[in-house]
Amino acid sequence: MDRPPELTASADPTWARPAVLVPVFVLISSVAGALPSFSLSANLLVLGTGGVLFWFGLAHPPRRRPPLRLPAGAVWWVVPVVIFVLVELTTFLLGSRPSTPTFSLLADPVLERYLPRSALFLGWLAAFWGLVRR
């Protein structure tokens, strides 16, 4: 597919460089892993970090030009998305029980443990940053 050259006009601010961001993201994730769901602190941390990234993504132009059009093969992405959404919708309507769990119910036992919770939070932050810089 067409992959236009990257833009070089906008340089990241000093604090937005990997040498700064990676340790900060690791630190935030290590704190997030210890915060239980439904707590005020967990809400504030997610809303705060998400809010900063949301603002940064809107306030700063993307680093690279997006594709002008998608190739025909993009339609393949519809398959896993439709499967996931249909299963999620069905299990939600059935009441999300152990026999018919939503994805959230399946994730709960994993997210109750500190290390997986921290690692997944770090993945969420990294992916958010990837979207912001795109």
């Binding site: 769901s37 707590s39 997610v46 690279r64 190739p71 979207l131």
Partner: protein, 67 residues
């Protein structure tokens, strides 16, 4: 456990597609390229695509880590 299997199928399919997309001259875009394309959508001066994608990902984090 049909639901668990179908979630697995969806996730494995997505992983396979991402691997295929990363091959040279692939006709399948990566998930990042799809997101980049969606984020180009604007209504006048409002970057609706960026707001929607960031908003969705923000909600995912809130749903799994705060609720």
């Amino acid at each position: 456990m049909l639901a668990v299997g179908l979630y697995g199928v969806a996730l494995v399919l997505a992983g396979v597609l991402e691997l295929v997309a990363r091959r040279e001259d692939s006709q399948v875009p990566t998930v990042g390229e799809v997101c980049g394309f969606v984020m180009t959508y604007r209504v006048g001066p409002i970057p609706v695509g960026r707001i929607a994608v960031f908003g969705f990902w923000w909600w995912v984090g809130w749903h799994f880590f705060a609720r």
